[in-house]
Amino acid sequence: MEILAGDTAWMLISTALVLLMTPGLAMFYGGMVRAKGVLNMMMMSFISMGVVSVIWTLYGYSMTFGKDLGGGLVGSPTEFFGLTTIISEDSVFGTIPTSVFAAFQMMFAILTVALISGAIADRAKFGSWILFVIIWVTIVYFPVAHWVFDFDGVDENGNVDPGGWIANDLAAIDFAGGTAVHINAGIAALAIALVLGKRVGFGREPFKPHNLTLVMLGAALLWFGWFGFNAGSAIAANATAGVVFLNTVVATGAAMVAWLLVERIRNGHATSLGAASGIVAGLVAITPACSAVDPLGAMAIGAIASAVCALAVSLKYKLGYDDSLDVVGLHLVAGLIGSIFVGLFATAAAPAGVDGLFYGGGSDQLVKQIIASFAVLAYSFIATYIIAKAIDMTIGFRVKEDAEVTGIDLAVHAESSYEIGSQGANRGGYAS
């Protein structure tokens, strides 16, 4: 096929939009922790842009989209090593340059591992986190992304170039990553939180967000970037992208309203953190479903997922794990709901062209969605737990307690976030 400038334009900007999601996430997360840990929180996301972009270029794209090594489980890590072979003008993916496709998909890998960091606020060694990022994307993300995102293709000789098992053999629908991104990161967050244990003072001290304007800015950038994530997953500027875009807005709007309603009823107050959280819940839930439902279905999925998340975020106190910023309560819960509800709310009128249970399509698709969701969940939980535990038992994953109490920013990064008081910089620094 030939390169189409219109599709390429959309995919270029979509890629930039998805890149922006990671700093957006850094702010969303960073605003929620205490001032003494905001820089570390942001750095856990930022470093993912650094490390994963390099790995992806070296072998990550290959493992995800390279020739399948068998069973739809993982691609060949060497096929596109260094991405030097995809930069020629003839290297085309669909109607866009392969270089653009490779960059677009890179952003998904960057974001997914960054999502996990919300579970371990204020207490992870930075070096251990970097090691975790490297191992996790290699062992967990690239294979799972291969399962879900690598559709069978045709090679130069006209033979089938087989892709991942979920996309092709199972044929579950996951348009933009409900399973590969959100269930994956959400359950990994649970595993890593279990390994690291609770923050000092968890359940006793308040840990209130130190900067809610930063949280809202982060949520806004996430929403903005998510259009690239979802509508960009059409890999073209076409009618599918249009419907996906519309569904993404509507689901998110409904989700924000739903979360605020739950809060108003339960606590008497609709909060700004609730609005930001509802936005993210809605975005997560519509991600797998956005090509398969109509705007009313999108509204329903967004609203239901968000309301459930609003209730689920308190579970950690009861169950006693410190998923600090509710990655489980948001990404796992909304990811599961979104992925599974495709089997209920899908309508053949939407681009994906499949009817779900509620639209007379029977439970076929529903079953596929459930299998895909739990396959990813199980693999990711086990593999993540092992990785995190191995790191913890060797180089250690957690900072010393007094570093945690003083503040991880100072202890790990030798920085303090704000110096805003009236005598500001005079609070005692010297150039040594």
């Binding site: 308040p206 209130k208 967000p209 606590n267 975020v313």
Partner: protein, 112 residues
């Protein structure tokens, strides 16, 4: 000389400041504080979890005055700061042995 320290509601700072000015008090020092006492704190909610915040924002005002002015200034402050509702604050007086104005080196009452 005496040091008069007043803990008042932030919203009353302007009024106290004007009242002191009118009364002829030449200077004062103000700082942020928060207080705990009979006034109940408030509740904040983050992701469904409720936090009780029991330290309430207050302003500390400090004025050095000559002995003879103590009663007048204390009553000016407490009048201006009063809203009649709980949490209005306290005013207390402590002895000061000497005062110096940094700029001139003047000391005693001249330094105020």
């Amino acid at each position: 000389m005496k040091l008069i320290t007043a803990i008042v509601k932030p919203a009353k700072l302007e009024e106290v400041k004007s009242a002191l000015s009118s009364h002829g008090v030449a200077g004062m020092t103000v700082s942020e504080a928060s207080g705990f006492g009979r006034q109940r704190g408030h509740t904040e909610v983050y992701r469904g979890t409720e936090y009780t915040v029991d330290l309430i924002a207050k302003v500390r005002i400090e004025v050095i005055v000559d002995d003879k002015d103590v009663d007048g200034v204390v009553s000016v402050i407490s009048t201006a700061a009063s809203t009649g509702s709980v949490g209005d604050g306290k005013v207390w007086v402590t002895p000061v042995e000497s005062v110096i104005r940094v700029r001139t080196g003047e000391s005693g009452v001249d330094a105020i």
